[in-house]
Each structure stands twice: as structure tokens, then as C-alpha cells.
């Protein structure tokens, strides 16, 4: 199917005012990318912030072996970097994995992307990984294939990756300095030997950088993941960001270290803490001047299925998949229709935004007064609209509105305040969790919010707002910001410490 080229007039839009900078939501970030890259990522939920509201992805766990050890990983479980730790994926042989992919793609037509991310390292399992890719490229040509790797075996596999039309690769690069690396990687398996310490880190770093260069030379898109480990690589990641950008990576995703003691990792058991939301945001902001930063990563499991932030894996366990009869050629027609409808919606949104930008430039509106930025939390189930009850939200998307427009900051997980029914007994402590994760936000937008949490939210300085149900997130956030301005709420410098940090 020929994918429609969205917004090919973007480069002609006026360079002044909103179009040049941070105005509008972060999907504008995509407008800065060259056309050929934008075409590749516009429907990839992991690479495009806008796409992740509409399109779904899945991972298949066909790659259990790993060739390195990371201090944030316990190999009794899945890879702790590419998967949330503490849970083991149902491991599949390639034939089973392909069956599962076809079943999911036929059931969830929004699924555009199949990734192999573990539970070990995909390229430490080349036979299983490439067998899966080969079958899928033949049987399901409408699915994008991607792979995520620690990079150690990457240079040896670039040719093979290019064969199966894999145009997206993620490399986890936590450092470019072997002294930093020695604190993250205790050993690697290299040329039939286990190598430890600084020497191991040196080899790994060299392989990662070489792999990155080879992929870029082949025209394969590269995203770089980095795990932010306070006190180990936090300062260093700004340098990593600059280097990988210079070498041609198109997106950098800094993820917070997960180090719960119960996961049994080295970091977990030695008390290495993860970063706070503020530290993560500060580093992402510091890197942003140089690099496209990804902020919507959910650190999915190696067997995740569905939209980012949701996991429908339990609907597709192997015993259930075996029972399903899938006519993929038929499913492919239906999928094409669904994709066309989503693309149309995205295109009309983009055109509306462009029209607005052009109107501003024609009318030459005087620049707005500079008002302070405000963080707002949004409860959504997807499609880019406010459509989740406060009490049902297991995560909130955080946006920053300012006189410049708005930008996506990240997501924060919580326990749903009210699962409905009997579990409401636990509601109070769940509300405390939500109040804690929403610290710094002044508004929470949701489709509905109950009477009980209303008081505690207000007392915490977070205004509950259920007036914009089913409205596009961007419109609602900017409307509420405008209301705050009109009400004089933006005059007082509240909450500025977050910007300074």
C-alpha cells in the first residue's frame, strides 16, 4: 500500500512565530525531520509521539539469550531494560511467534509494528530473530519490523537486518566512556571468552558506535535508548546525546533506571536509586537543544501487545492463539482501511494546524505576553483525546503549556484510584500515590472526576477538570491555559522551581 505523504507543505510554512519552535504539541518535532524519515515514522508508536495515540505495537519474545550483563538486569527475568523487570515472558519459537503476530494484527488492526526486544538480546539469538523476520516479511508485508539491541553483535548483523526491510533499529547506549561503562556492565561474552571490567565496556562501546555508523550508512533509522542512572551516567548522557546525534541517530530516548530491590538486580540490591521525575525531565530538557528526545516511552515488556501504555498480551497467549483461525489476506484489507481512516484523521488535524499557523503569520498578530509555564496532567485511553476517568487512569500524560504553546513532557504511572466495585476499599492509598506522581501539576484533565478525590486534589494545588471530555488533548490544554491567563492565574510565579531545576 502506498502510504499517503502527510503534510508535505510543512517545509513551506512560515519560519517565524509558531512554526519554527516549540508551539503546538510535540508532534511538531516530527516536522523538523527530513521527509523520508517522517514518512517512515509517522505511524510508528515508539518513534512518533503523535502516532502512539493511534497506532499499536507488539513484541514477540523469541530471543532469550544475552551476550552481556547489565547491572540493572536480573537474568532470572526478562531484560530489565527492554521489558519491565520481574515478569517472565512466554517464550516462543519463530513459527509460534509468527502465528501470534498474525492473530494480533487481524484482531487489532491499529497494530503497525512488530518488534523483537528480547527477553535477552535479539542479535545474540540471530537464528530465531531472523527466522521470525523472514517469515513475517513474506506473510505480513504490511507490518513494520524493528529490533532493539545492546549493540555488541550489531556490526556482524547489519547486512542481515537490511535484507528483511528492517528500517528501524534501537541501540541501548548508556555511555561512551569505558570508565562509566565499567560501572554499568560487569561482563560481556566476546570472541568465545567472558571479558570483565573496563575492557568489556571498551569493546561494547566500540561495537555500539560502529553498529550505529553502519546502520546510518545503510539508511536504516536508529533510535538510541539510554538508561539514566543517577550518580553513574547522569551527567555523561548529555555527551552521549551529542555524539549519537552527530553520528546520525534520529531520536534519543532517556529512560529512568528501574531498581526495585525485589527484582534482585545488582543496582536493586546495592541501593542504587532511580531518577526522580524532575531529574529525568531536566536531563531530557538539557539534551533537547541538540537532539530529538522521546518522552512517551513506556519501557514495554518483551511480549507487550497493544497501544503504548496498555498490554493486551493476556488475550493472545499461545493456547488462545492456537484456537484462532486467521485469514491474513482478508485481514490485510481491513487493516488497510483502518490505517487509511487514521491517516486521514491525522492529515486533517495537521492541515487544521497549518491553517492556524498561516493565519497567524498573515494577520501578523502581535507577540503574546510571556506568561509562566504550567504543567497539566491528562487522562487518556488513546486517540489523542481526553477520554479516561480520573479514577480509572493507571497513568497520566504530562504536558507543559506556556505562552510558546504546549509540549509533551512525559507520562507518570499510578495505581488507578478506583478500579470500580470492591477494590475501592484501597482507594485512599491509591489517591495518595496519584497526588504524589502529579506533584508539580496544576491541572488534571479527565473525562470525569468523582466528588471524593476532588477536595484532596484541590488541597494539593491540582485543579480537577472534567469539562473537556472527548476533546483533543492539545485543544483542551491550550484552552485551559488561556482560561488561567484570563483569570490572572499566570501572573503569580508559582512552581517555577521545576523550570530552574
Amino acid at each position: 500500500m502506498q502510504l499517503p505523504v502527510i503534510n508535505n507543505a510543512a517545509s513551506e510554512a512560515p519560519k517565524g512565530g509558531c512554526s519554527a519552535g516549540s508551539c503546538g504539541s510535540t508532534d511538531d518535532q516530527m516536522n523538523h525531520l527530513p521527509e523520508h524519515i517522517r514518512e517512515k515514522v509517522f505511524n510508528h508508536p515508539c518513534y512518533s509521539e503523535e502516532a502512539h495515540h493511534y497506532f499499536a505495537r507488539m513484541h514477540v519474545a523469541v530471543a532469550p539469550a544475552c551476550n552481556i550483563q547489565c547491572n540493572y538486569c536480573n537474568r532470572k527475568y526478562d531484560c530489565a531494560n527492554e521489558s519491565r523487570p520481574g515478569v517472565v515472558s512466554e517464550l516462543h519459537h519463530p513459527v509460534q511467534a509468527v502465528k501470534k503476530v498474525l492473530a494480533v494484527a487481524a484482531t487489532i488492526p491499529q497494530m503497525t509494528v512488530l518488534g523483537i526486544a528480547g527477553p535477552g538480546d535479539p542479535l545474540a539469538n540471530p537464528e530465531r530473530t531472523f527466522e521470525t523476520f523472514r517469515m513475517l516479511s513474506e506473510q505480513a508485508p504490511d507490518i513494520k519490523l524493528c529490533v532493539s539491541t545492546n549493540g555488541l553483535s550489531l556490526p556482524d548483523n547489519v547486512e542481515e537486518l537490511a535484507k528483511y526491510n528492517i528500517d528501524h533499529v534501537t541501540i541501548t547506549i548508556n555511555c561512551v566512556d569505558p570508565d562509566v561503562g565499567a560501572q554499568i556492565y560487569p561482563w560481556i561474552f566476546w570472541k568465545n571468552k567472558r571479558i570483565k571490567g573496563r575492557e568489556a565496556a571498551e569493546i561494547l562501546i566500540a561495537q555500539q558506535q560502529k553498529g550505529l555508523e553502519m546502520l546510518v550508512a545503510k539508511g536504516i533509522l536508529v533510535k538510541v535508548n539510554s538508561v539514566l542512572i543517577p550518580g553513574v551516567n547522569d551527567k555523561h548522557l548529555e555527551e552521549v546525546s551529542k555524539i549519537v546525534k552527530a553520528k546520525g541517530a534520529f531520536l534519543h530516548n532517556v529512560m529512568p533506571l528501574i531498581s526495585e530491590a525485589e527484582h534482585g538486580t545488582y543496582y536493586g540490591l546495592t541501593g542504587q536509586r532511580g531518577p526522580t521525575n524532575e531529574e529525568l525531565q531536566a536531563l531530557q530538557d538539557a539534551c533537547e537543544g541538540d537532539m530529538n528526545m522521546m518522552r512517551h516511552c513506556r519501557q514495554c515488556r518483551a511480549d507487550a501487545v497493544g497501544l503504548l501504555g496498555e498490554d493486551r498480551g493476556s488475550e493472545f497467549t499461545m493456547d488462545k492463539v492456537e484456537q484462532m483461525e486467521i485469514n491474513y489476506p482478508e485481514a490485510m484489507k481491513m487493516r488497510a482501511e483502518v490505517h487509511a481512516a487514521i491517516n486521514e484523521e491525522l492529515e486533517s488535524k495537521r492541515l487544521a494546524k497549518e491553517t492556524k499557523v498561516q493565519l497567524v503569520s498573515i494577520q501578523g498578530l502581535k507577540p503574546k505576553e510571556v506568561t509562566r509555564p504550567v504543567l497539566m496532567a491528562v487522562a487518556t485511553k488513546g486517540n489523542g483525546v481526553i477520554n479516561e476517568h480520573f479514577g480509572h487512569a493507571s497513568e497520566f500524560l504530562i504536558y507543559e503549556a506556556s505562552s510558546e504553546g504546549m509540549r509533551f513532557i512525559g507520562h507518570r504511572k499510578t495505581k488507578p484510584y478506583c478500579e470500580g466495585g470492591d477494590t475501592c476499599g484501597d482507594g485512599e492509598s491509591a489517591l495518595d500515590t496519584t497526588l504524589r506522581v502529579l506533584a508539580g501539576c496544576e491541572v488534571v484533565l479527565c473525562s470525569k472526576v468523582g466528588y471524593e478525590p476532588w477536595g484532596p486534589l484541590e488541597a494539593a494545588g491540582i485543579q480537577p477538570n472534567g469539562e473537556h471530555a472527548m476533546e483533543p488533548i492539545e485543544d483542551a490544554v491550550l484552552k485551559v491555559y488561556e482560561e488561567m491567563r484570563a483569570a490572572g492565574k499566570l501572573d503569580k510565579p508559582v512552581n517555577l522551581q521545576l523550570k530552574v531545576a
Binding site: A65, N67, N71, R75, K76, E127, F189, N192, Y266, T270
Partner: protein
């Protein structure tokens, strides 16, 4: 002369393709080494390959029943005194 895989094996498959003698095979509840085939990689590699990639301390024993990768040798996780 043979190495042995014991129950702490997590079935990660890392060792199986590396064995020059094809002595390692998938089994339940965990991978096993055929003692008649295992050569401990003598003549093929300097280090026994399964023990050189295995991420689990204590999961592979030598012919005397001693762990090839003792506790604390791979992850640096402090040993609990219990």
C-alpha cells in the same frame, strides 16, 4: 570429563548454540548436558563455552560438582551471610 547444568538454569538458550560437541540439549525443567558428548571444550576453546556465557552463578558445575561461576563472580551482588 563433563560439566553439568543444575536447576538454577533459567533456560535462556545462550549456551546451546555455542557447544562445539552438541552436548547441550533442551529439556524440562531445564537444559542438560550429555556427559558422553561433553569435552569441556578441550581442543576447541580455551574456556568451556557454556560456562563462559552462562549468566547464572552456580548453574554450571565442573566434574567435581564445584560451580564454574561461583556466587558473586558474575554480578558482584554481595553474598548474604545466612
Amino acid at each position: 570429563m563433563s560439566l553439568e547444568i543444575i536447576e538454577s538454569c533459567t533456560n535462556c538458550w545462550a549456551c546451546e548454540p555455542l557447544c562445539p560437541s552438541k552436548a547441550i540439549y533442551e529439556a524440562k525443567p531445564h537444559f542438560l548436558i550429555d556427559p558422553d558428548k561433553c569435552t569441556e571444550c578441550a581442543g576447541d576453546f580455551e574456556d568451556p563455552q557454556c560456562a563462559a556465557i552462562c549468566p547464572i552463578e552456580g548453574a554450571i558445575l565442573n566434574e567435581d560438582g564445584v560451580p564454574m561461576n561461583p556466587i558473586g563472580s558474575l554480578t558482584g551482588i554481595p553474598v548474604r551471610a545466612d
